[in-house]
Amino acid sequence: MAAQVTLSAPPRTAFYNDPVIRGIIYQILVALAVILFFAWIILNTAQNLAAQNKSTGFDFLFQTSGFGISFTLIPFDRSSYYWQAFLVGLLNTLLVAIIGIVFATILGFVLGVARLSSNWLVARIATVYVEIIRNIPLLLQLFFWYFAVLKAMPAVRQSYELPFNTFINQRGIIVPKPLPDSEMTFVIVALVLAIVAAIAIVRWAMSVRTATGHYPQPVVWGSLFANLLITFGFGFVAGSLLTGIFPALSGIVGFPLIAGAVLAGISLTPYTRFGRAFIGFVLTWAVMAFLLEGMFAFVPPMVIALAAVLTAAAVAWIMIKGDGRPAAEGKFPLALAVLIIIAVPGLVYWLTGATLNFEVPILERFNFSGGVQLVPELVALVFGLTIYTAAFIAENVRSGIQAVSKGQTEAAASLGLREGDRLRLVVIPQAMRVIIPPLTSQYLNLTKNSSLGAAIGYPELVNVFMGTTLNQTGKAIEVIAITMAVYLTLSLTTSAFMNWYNARVALVER
């Protein structure tokens, strides 16, 4: 007898308990609520605008603005249009963002590596920097730089004079203005071409070495030659510095030339590192003496000279103990690349007879004439953004390097790579994968934070457009929409880049 199986019908549930239908109902309700909310807002806005007798539309962009802007990259005056004001603001934002990004990246990487340094003191200094800067609002730091530091600088007549004809006073930093003539274009083109060529040659040399184990012969000879020339140049500089320190040496005619030639000669022998150590010694001595003299005004000169010599001796010691690989043989052809980048534009400069003059700022009765005036708002904003963002970048760099497991370093060490190569070839490439995404968002943060320039009067987008333009035209909705659209575009572009990069470098997992 067959078992009787009664198939029960699926449980009857009310249609509103079906998850799919529920989902649809929820969504319809939410969409309705959102639409109603927006309708309510738009209605209110329309009524409010009608009550205030205001019109809407973007035609105000083509009216004359009637205000001046203190710092512009493109010509702008009172008769310019509002869209030009928008452009001025946008360009100023981008200017400050780009400068800030460059400096913050450099400072941030240095600090991030310093935080992981095995040197206790260096690591501690970097940690203190990061912990202080990260925990204080950026706006406060901007106020500090602007009101307490730059605005407290002396008046124009008592300007501090810095090296290279640079002056700093209440009205900002005044630097010499480069006056390139038309032939300078060739030099710049030559410079770009030389950089491209140098990179191409280095890459080719590296690929040949990867394939055969040796750098190509022309590159080796070129490197040797470049090394000779560059050593001669450094030797010449060291010789001139020495004549400055020991006037007795100036009795020898052409001492710097002789020094350069001797050192270049040494660089051909196996004792090249002693020659380099000598150059390092003289240069460090000069730089340290100059720095210490500036830093400690009240310390007797004997102590300063002693400290400078000690530091220079330490540098020389490092260079003598440093790697003993022959200069042009197995070594990365850095000298050749440097020579190409310096020599090619130099040659073009000499051949075309281009001149690069500098218009030196001169103090006249009330103000400086000539030179470029970097307004204090710009300087304060760049300072503040750089210092603040660098603290965050340092943290990203640190966590990126720490994310590379210790086994990688040990594996590299067991392959016989030395410390520098371990970092360069094994750790950093893997750390970059972790560092780049947060780094990009720090760049974006810096760009967004540049809007705080409005608070110290730097004419960037928010200040010029959401501040002055909005106040004058009263077109709140349009102005705010445009401004937000700009930042939205920047942000979405950056995230698009980030997604692309992430997809490119993501680990391919099993």
Partner: protein, 378 residues
Amino acid sequence: MTYSFVRQDMVDARGAPVNTSGPIAWARRSLFATPSDALLTILAIVFLIWAIPPIYGFIAPTGIGGNAVAPGGTVEDCRVENAGACWAYISARMSFFIYGFYPPAEYWRPNIVFALGALLLFPLLTPKAPFKRTNAVLFFVVYPVICFYLLNGGVFGMRPVPTEQWGGLMVTLIISLVGIICSIPLGILLALGRQSSLPIIKTLCVMFIELWRAVPLITVLFMASVMLPLFMPQGTTVDKLLRALVGVTLFSSAYLAETVRGGLQALPRGQYEAASSLGLSYWKSMGFIILPQALKHVIPGIVNSFIALFKDTSLVSIVGIFDLLNTVQAASSDIEWSSPTQAITGYLFAGFVFWIFCFAMSRYSIYMERRLDTGHKR
């Protein structure tokens, strides 16, 4: 009988190993390990010798080797050539920095608010303290209501104090507290919405989050202060502080949503599946299974976004609200105390206050991270 290859005399004992403990060994290891290290150490010491004495001289009062004017000093002391920080000015203006323009007769009201807040906050942050749920309800729901009525007045015969008179550290704390309290539920809802399988809800949440995250807070505040009155029905006025609060809350909830999303994504799928196999509804599975674990994962991240929020509150000074930074900025043009170091002293003070709060929060976040790290690391 002797073998030439058998050693007759003992090998000399090796020299004692170089110290591995004690200050000299430590210095050798962490300051002078290599020549480059030694060079760096020398440079760092030179830098410190250069930087620290002037900073110390500026901050420390005259009694202990500095040039600063201790609280109780007069403005003449601060105007002396080469005088350091004018702490006397800070102590004289302290009540302004804390309460803004709040009427001095009513200072007891913000004081009660501060005390009550501290009283509720400490047990909430101590992991071992009991009655967490009651405590949380009191802090997140009851406390803000009490605060509002206490500060605003107008009930129980308390004199009404309009928000225009609120200021200083009080307003900074209020804005961050309201921002934190309101942005937690909003942020969680947004994060859930972004993870949702319902396309319309997901799109709306993504748009909301990405819009706020893309724009700087200052534009949001401008928008709140300019456009919010336009959005409201005719005749309604929105309080200035409330506008800023709305802006800050929306902004920080978007950031919080992304933090919470990180926690939701870090949970293994099995947790979601286990919850549904128990027959729990969406909200129950979220409330009992998913969120408790996800939030626990991201407590450090949440605290970090609170730090960012706390620092960002300083931006409300741009739309004219008298928070701590704005009171300091306003007081720095105070003629009665005008001296060369007046502005810089004010900024040092404000920076120190902000730093204390943020540093405490970040230490707490590290502490929680260590506590919650239940050892899944290799």
